[in-house]
């Protein structure tokens, strides 16, 4: 188990390098990956475990993003990499190659749900922190109609 965690750490770290994450922020992403894998393994490794692990990674990423003042993706992307259902995608493809369409459908649905679990987990994690932590100017309106008055434009 300890070896697995170390390997998960290395995997997340390596993928962070591939995505050009700066050296200073490599560690948070790699740690998120390790903790995600810990949750995933200790809950048994089904899709529910993927979901809960993604929620954990999402929370870490949201929190870390606020602490280090970096975009959330810098921590979240290396974090979820160990959970990506590569094996499921491969067996779907293999079943299709062999002409086993029922098997492909089963595996494919499973894979799709695993990917969906990651997606929903990450999305869900943004909710609690947003409730607690508004962060002042974080909610800037996308259209900034600031100080515009008729007299202003007449002046020029």
């Amino acid at each position: 188990m300890l070896i697995e965690l170390i390997v998960a750490f290395i995997a997340a770290l390596a993928f962070a390098v591939v995505f050009n994450v700066p050296v200073r922020y490599l560690l948070p992403g790699a740690l998120a990956g390790t903790i995600g894998w810990l949750i995933f393994r200790s809950l048994g490794g089904a899709n529910t475990a993927i979901f809960l692990a993604s929620v954990g990674i999402g929370l870490l990423a949201e929190g870390g993003a606020r602490i280090f003042r970096v975009p959330v993706v810098i921590i979240a992307v290396p974090g979820i990499i160990p959970l990506v259902p590569g094996a499921g995608a491969y067996s779907t493809m293999l079943a299709l190659v062999k002409g086993d369409f029922i098997g492909a459908l089963t595996k494919g649905t499973e894979t799709l749900f695993a990917a969906g679990a990651i997606a929903v987990g990450i999305a869900l994690a943004t909710v609690p922190l947003r409730l607690v932590w508004k962060g002042g100017k974080r909610h800037v309106r996308k259209t900034a109609h600031a100080r515009i008055t008729p007299t202003d434009s007449l002046k020029f």
Binding site: A11, I74, K142
Partner: protein
């Protein structure tokens, strides 16, 4: 005040081209425009382009930028983020911010190509270990992962269409792993292949797609979702075509 809109547009362009989410592009652009003294700023961004209209009190300027190539360079996203914050805090002037953005644009990749390739190999090996591969298969995954990275690097430099490049990389790793299996029949072929293609997996596309959907940028979310699906399909078709050929000439697969 021509620089004004250019500054804001360049910032948005840099974030979008290097893997930032759409809401971040829009928010950063509006914030920078307001910090630089704009009266109104309207921004609309999708993964393929940015439209913005900025009023500086005297005149309205409209800019459109078409984004052709998107890659992953989170360092650049981070740098633009920092410049935007410093501009809002009035540490940087508009001219200084524009100059800094231009240096960010010319910034090379964070890590030299050799280190990225090596990281890809290590990542592949580690991933196949997590799937439960033996030491020999881990080694095979590492070697073929390195090969995949080299092929992708080469094809991207030649500006081959991204989906075609992904399919070719998938075909390469399947072929290489079949060759390895001929010499060491004990390697777990499937785990080695999965590990080696993980460096191509659309992890970033999935994450940004979800986050875009969450912030109600639904066009961007669906574009990135389709992109993630397309990437997975392209890789699978590359690997699958080689395996089909292999089965056709009489090979057997586990």
């Amino acid at each position: 005040m021509a620089e004004f809109a250019d500054l804001v547009l360049l910032a948005g362009q840099l974030i979008l081209e290097n893997g930032g989410e759409t809401f971040r592009v829009e928010e950063t652009m509006v914030r920078m425009a307001v910090a630089a003294g704009a009266q109104t700023a309207d921004v609309f961004a999708v993964p393929q382009g940015i439209f913005c209209t900025i009023n500086d009190g005297v005149q309205t300027q409209t800019r459109i930028a078409r984004i052709h190539h998107r890659g992953f360079n989170l360092t650049k996203v981070l740098e633009v983020n920092r410049i935007s914050r410093q501009l809002s805090a009035e540490i940087l002037t508009v001219e200084a911010a524009y100059a800094e953005l231009q240096t960010v644009e010319r910034l090379p990749r964070r890590y030299p190509t050799g280190i990225r390739l090596l990281a890809g190999a290590i990542g592949s090996a580690a991933f196949s270990y997590l799937l439960g591969a033996h030491l020999g298969s881990v080694l095979a995954a590492g070697i073929t992962g390195l090969l995949v990275m080299i092929v992708m690097e080469f094809l991207q430099k030649r500006e081959i269409l991204n989906f075609v490049a992904l399919a070719m990389a998938g075909a390469t790793t399947a072929l290489a792993n079949l060759v390895i299996r001929q010499f060491w029949p004990t390697t777990q072929f499937d785990l080695a292949v999965i590990g080696s293609i993980m460096v191509l997996a659309p992890g970033l596309a999935i994450t940004t797609s979800v986050r875009d959907a969450l912030f109600e940028d639904l066009i961007s979310a669906s574009i990135r979702g389709v992109e993630a699906f397309g990437v997975a399909l392209a890789i699978a078709s590359g690997v699958g075509s080689i395996l089909t050929l292999y089965l056709w000439i009489g090979g057997t697969l586990p």
